[in-house]
Symmetry: C2
Subunit: 163 residues, 2 copies
């Protein structure tokens, strides 16, 4: 039996990979839960200074008087951490190949947050033109240690059939 | 007159900031062009090993025999570079605060690619509940040095009125 919910230990984002899943192994409603990722302040600042250099992401003092009311991670770092957690928790054969996504950030990610991701498969379509693959839609919620949703994402993944 | 198209010199992602724009300064159809960002192989590999550790992003040999036919950047790195270029080219007063986005990656980003972003405003809505702000939709194309689209993004930005 395949483990679709590896229940990684907290902080363990290098959990042993469960068996790989092909298109025919997936069902609408399948749920995948990740381990955790601790976002340290230094990593938040380093990412922002390189990719999203705005005061509310790079400067605690300026952030305090901004709309965010304190230092907040770039949404793209939240998305990148989400990807890391998905790689460790959604064991698709051949890897996670995203075609596109819809994404929103209902709450900010803060320094010291421990993030985890819960993903639910909401649609599975076989490719009309390419019988060796399909497109799977996953709804992934990224949650902090208080259970607040910091990111909501619907993504389309390319998934192969077992050959 | 405000410069909405700063025509940054190639490679210059630290171009001088033009005047800041408020909601009443924006029009549907306004176009913003960024400078360039050169993605070196080392930065591609470092990002992937931290946030998207899959062989087609981290290992040139494995990538050659993958769907990508060679090393490809994580889509989230393409998104993060796009954000960096937007910060330098879309001078919204108070900063670029994204509420959400739709994103797709029609072509891979490769080591050594020089990326640039062209953004067009496609919708401007005043907030019904909060008269001090509005929501602006921007369509941003991220292009490589050959003019291929590596990312297509529609994003919702919160923009304040001048007070």
């Amino acid at each position: 039996m395949m483990s679709k919910d590896p229940s990684d230990a907290p902080g363990d984002i290098e959990a042993a990979q469960p068996d790989r899943l092909y298109l025919e192994n997936l069902r609408v409603g399948d749920i995948f839960r990740s381990g955790e990722f601790l976002l340290e302040r230094d990593e938040l600042l380093a990412f922002a200074s390189r990719y999203d250099p705005q005061p509310f992401h790079t400067d605690g003092t300026a952030a305090a008087s901004s709309l965010f009311g304190g230092l907040a991670a770039s949404g793209w770092q939240t998305a990148s951490i989400t990807m890391r957690l998905l790689v460790g928790s959604v064991p698709i054969a051949g890897g996670l190949i995203g075609l596109g996504a819809e994404i929103s950030w209902p709450n900010p990610t803060r320094p010291g947050d421990r993030l985890r991701v819960e993903s639910t498969l909401t649609e599975i379509r076989e490719s009309a033109s390419r019988p060796d693959r399909g497109i799977v839609t996953a709804e992934s919620l990224t949650l902090n240690q208080d259970g607040q949703v910091v990111q909501r994402m619907s993504s389309q993944l390319m998934v192969f059939r077992c050959r």
